[in-house]
Amino acid sequence: MIRSRTDRALLVALALAAASGAARAFELGELMRLLGANRGGSATYDEQRYVQGLDAPLHSSGTLSYTAPDRFTRHMEQPRAETVSVAGNTLTLTKNGKTRNVALDSVPEMGAIVAAMRGTLSGDAGALERWFRPQVEGSAERWSLVLVPSEERIAARVATILIGGRHGEVRRVEVRLADGDRSVMEIEPLAAAKRASVAR
């Protein structure tokens, strides 16, 4: 029952808010919730790097795996075996049979790139906002996340990171470096059944 002008005004305001909500754009918080529901999984990837001064793009491929909240591994199979895995503050690089550990917070450029990947996979807006000004475009069916570094020191190396995906899955990562070089990684999630068996 509507008893006063104030109540009516409130009702109108609520109705307006509901209407605008239905039409509003897909937002960062929503994307983060979608991504955050993902507890882990694995995928194959295919990467092309476009480097000025080289005659052809550099191509590599392999698998990726992620376990919530902070474990991420890139296992390169082609053109040679090389594994980069991140857990907590430690990045471990294994190549030529040698293993090397690096503290992520000791090399901020590396920390930022890892934060972009890990923050997106885990739906951690705080981790992204620590280093970047994130912007979301598109819809839940097909979104893209634009990350522009907020620190001058990172911006001197990395111009933009573009991450594209569908629902809770990341399908494409493009890193544009400040010097014009760029890399594009296409990601193909492994089938759910297979993912389940991997998880088991």
Partner: protein
């Protein structure tokens, strides 16, 4: 004739004082820990001492900037680093900012074919080149690629990168706003190494003061600077010990003077009483200074305790000589004092043979000091005051208290014996666990400073350089070759995670053999150009872009190998210097510092290096503890021998078992009860407690011998009792002062001697043979 003899004694004494004053004026005060290291070290211990005195760890200053905002701290870190480098006092100042490394990077780049561990014949075959170039290219298009892109054409195989990867430690501080920051506290971090040696405390003090003054000059009131490092500890300890000695000497002097004034009520008597003290301390300093070249702060601090012991002689003389004069005292009391002196000297003489210079100094100081004080009492005091102290003071009251105690104490005999038995039981049950004082317990560094040091070290990922492998050979080349062999054995351990890594001088100065092998694996210009052509065919990087590479390799083939001279002028000289010790006889030692060794890692390292000759694995902390434990055992044994000597001496002089028993029992009980009390209070007992117990025996022997003398004389001499009580009060007061000292080594002695001396007197009274009360003397 007496007059003439007296004049001679006075002249001799004044001459001694003059010489002593001269000698003391030139005496160097030493506060380093090295006095507590062996004087005739073996090779391992020699390196240990060299490292403690001048190694890179000893020259490191850990600097933290706290307060304000992160941006303010970062700005202050940059400004402070620039100012410190400007000052010229520091070899290196690092704060995480990448500037300042260009020179070092360029030098490494220019010598990459001599230094890169991956230069080998197979890497310069067609297949090897293709792999190496591929690997370098794989970094392009990533943020890391920016660093290698400029040198791609001249270093496509990534040799500079290979050198850098080997040199950069795995653990690195957190980097924010371009500078190092703490992971646990809001704090910016810097790491500086002084040009001056760690053992040069004056220069270290200057460097530390410079850091503070440069920080002040930044005019950032909301920020503050914290400093740590071995040099900071040493400089602070020295200042603390000096201030403490001054404070103790002053407080002790004033208190004892007041007591004596109170007791004698005569200024001349007071002044005369202090003469044996003065003479004893002068003799102690001179003896130690002549024998050891310098006097350790601890020894001098201990010297102030001799006030308590040597003033006793004067008290005995001044009070006891009152009735019969000097001649009477010399006849009746001097033999007792002399026997007490001999007993004390026996105890301390044992320490003279200690291999621990610090302990030998204490022994010599006490020995010389006590003998000089007794001689001054024997020869000087009769000349100055032939009839003892004239004033009445509180002697009567002292005598009354002492006589009263004489009546009460013997009733407590059985209680005391029971308590003694309890102590024996407790000590036997505790066993060796009672003696768990360690070297750290000698250090006056406060807990908070040690905590800060640990924090800064964790933040900066710098260990305390406590474990290293030492390689020693007859010349530099052989040493470097051995160091390379050690590296080859350590690499698998690093790979398995047993070691975090290691620093070796051979990375920057490889042996000549290794450098020549690397150069020999480089093909000639034409051959290389052909191989590059084939290796890059069909790849993304065209061969014609790699002209600079072919030229650089050709130039490297003609490059002179690096030697000690060329390293000395390089920007990395200080790093090599710190790890390579070159001796005047041409021999050299390389230090390979192990980083973050996992528990049990040292055993694995020793195992891996078992068959490599002239290599030692040293764990500084363990080594120091082992040394300390060794000297503690040695000192315990010496003290036991000293005790045996005391008993033999007394038996020889007293020539009666009951008398020997009545003299030894109170002393043994006093030592036992003191020891039991300290152990029950949970104090970790160490060498200095042992020294304290020797002092208790030294002081107590006078008490028991005087009681023995009274027993023999067959009457209660009130003056003797008064003198014993006064002597005891001065001792307890002066050692009580020591007990509250902030310097652990001094407080250990004080806490042992103050209760021990009091117990010795009470027990001497308790076990004195019963006397029927006599009329006053």
């Amino acid at each position: 004739m007496i007059e003439r003899r007296g004049a001679r004694v006075l002249a001799l004494w004044l001459l001694f004082l003059a010489i002593a004053a001269l000698a003391i004026g030139r005496t160097r005060l030493d506060t380093s820990l090295s006095a507590f290291l062996p004087k005739s070290p073996d090779a391992e211990q020699r390196i240990l001492i060299e490292q403690l005195a001048s190694g890179i760890a000893a020259r490191s200053l850990l600097i933290g900037i706290e307060g304000g905002s992160a941006a303010q701290r970062a700005a202050a870190s940059r400004a402070l680093a620039a100012r410190l480098i400007e000052s010229g006092l520091f070899e290196q100042v690092q704060n995480g900012a990448s500037d300042g490394f260009e020179a070092a990077g360029r030098w490494l780049f220019e010598h990459r074919y001599l230094l890169s561990p991956s230069v080998a014949p197979e890497r310069y075959t067609i297949a090897g080149l293709r792999d190496a170039i591929d690997e370098t290219l794989s970094l392009l298009g990533t943020p890391a690629g920016g660093a290698i892109k400029p040198s791609l054409a001249s270093d496509p195989t990534g040799e500079t990168l290979a050198i850098a990867e080997a040199l950069i430690p795995a653990g690195a501080p957190r980097n924010e706003d371009g500078v190092w920051v703490s992971r646990s506290h809001p704090r910016a971090l810097l790491l500086a190494s002084t040009r001056a040696a760690g053992g040069d405390l004056d220069a270290q003090a200057t460097a530390i003061a410079r850091v503070r003054s440069e920080f002040q000059a930044l005019a950032a009131p909301e920020l503050r600077v914290v400093l740590s490092g071995p040099a900071v500890f040493s400089v602070q300890s020295r200042a603390q010990i000096q201030a403490e000695i001054r404070r103790l000497a002053l407080a002790g002097g004033v208190l004892i003077s007041l007591l004596l004034w109170f007791a004698f009520a005569s200024l001349p008597a007071l002044l005369v009483a202090l003469l044996p003290v003065l003479t004893g301390i002068a003799a102690g300093v001179v003896a130690v200074s002549f024998s050891f070249g310098s006097v350790h702060g601890i020894t001098l601090g201990f010297g102030s305790t001799l006030i308590g012991e040597s003033v006793d002689y004067a008290i005995y003389y001044l009070i006891q000589a009152r009735g019969g004069g000097a001649a009477h005292w010399l006849r009746h009391s001097w033999p007792t004092v002399r026997l007490g002196l001999l007993t004390s000297v026996c105890g301390f003489a044992a320490l003279l043979f200690s291999g621990f210079p610090g302990l030998a100094q204490l022994g010599l100081f006490s020995f010389a000091g006590l003998v000089a004080a007794a001689l001054a009492t024997r020869y000087l005091l009769p000349v100055l005051t032939p009839h003892g102290a004239s004033g009445a003071g509180v002697r009567q009251q002292l005598a009354r208290v002492a006589t009263g105690a004489m009546g009460v104490m013997p009733k407590l005999r059985y209680a005391v014996l029971a308590l003694g038995a309890l102590c024996v039981g407790w000590l036997v049950w505790q066993g060796a666990a009672v003696w768990r004082g360690d070297l750290a317990s000698l250090s006056p560094v406060p807990e908070a400073a040690i905590k800060l040091d640990a924090e800064l070290r964790a933040d900066l990922s710098v260990g305390d350089a406590s474990t290293f492998v030492v390689v020693q050979q007859g010349d530099l080349e052989a040493t470097l070759r051995s160091a390379e062999t050690v590296s080859a054995r350590l690499d698998p351990l690093v790979e398995q995670g047993v070691l975090g890594g290691y620093d070796t001088p051979a990375r920057l100065l490889p042996s000549r053999a290794t450098q020549e092998r690397r150069i020999a694996s480089l093909p000639g210009a034409r051959e290389l150009a052909e191989r590059v052509e084939q290796a890059t065919a069909g790849g993304p990087l065209r061969a014609e872009r790699l002209g600079p590479f072919v030229e650089a390799v050709e130039a490297a083939r003609k490059q002179a190998p690096l030697d000690a001279a060329s390293i000395a002028t390089s920007p990395l000289a200080s790093i090599v210097d710190a790890l390579l010790l070159r001796r005047t006889d041409g021999s050299a030692a390389a230090l390979i510092a192990l980083q973050s060794a996992a528990p049990g890692a040292l055993a694995r390292v020793r195992d891996a290096l078992r068959d490599v000759p002239n290599v030692r694995v040293i764990d500084v902390r363990h080594e120091l503890q082992r040394l300390y434990a060794h000297y503690l055992r040695e000192a315990l044994l010496q003290a036991l021998l000293g005790a045996c000597a005391v008993v033999v001496l007394l038996a020889f002089r007293l020539r009666s078992l009951p008398r020997l028993m009545s003299v030894c029992l109170p002393l043994a009980l006093a030592v036992l009860l003191t020891l039991g009390g300290l152990a029950a209070a949970g104090a970790p007992l160490g060498i200095l407690h042992l020294v304290g117990l020797l002092l208790v025996v030294a002081l107590g022997s006078n008490y028991v011998l005087f009681f023995d003398q009274l027993h023999r004389a067959g009457r209660t001499d009130h003056d003797t009792l008064a003198s014993l009580l006064l002597a005891n009060v001065t001792t307890v007061v002066s050692f009580g002062l020591l007990a509250v000292s902030a310097i652990p080594s001094l407080s250990s002695i004080g806490r042992t001697v103050a209760p021990g001396a009091l117990l010795a007197l009470l027990l001497a009274a308790a076990f004195a043979a019963p006397r029927k009360p006599a009329t006053s003397a």
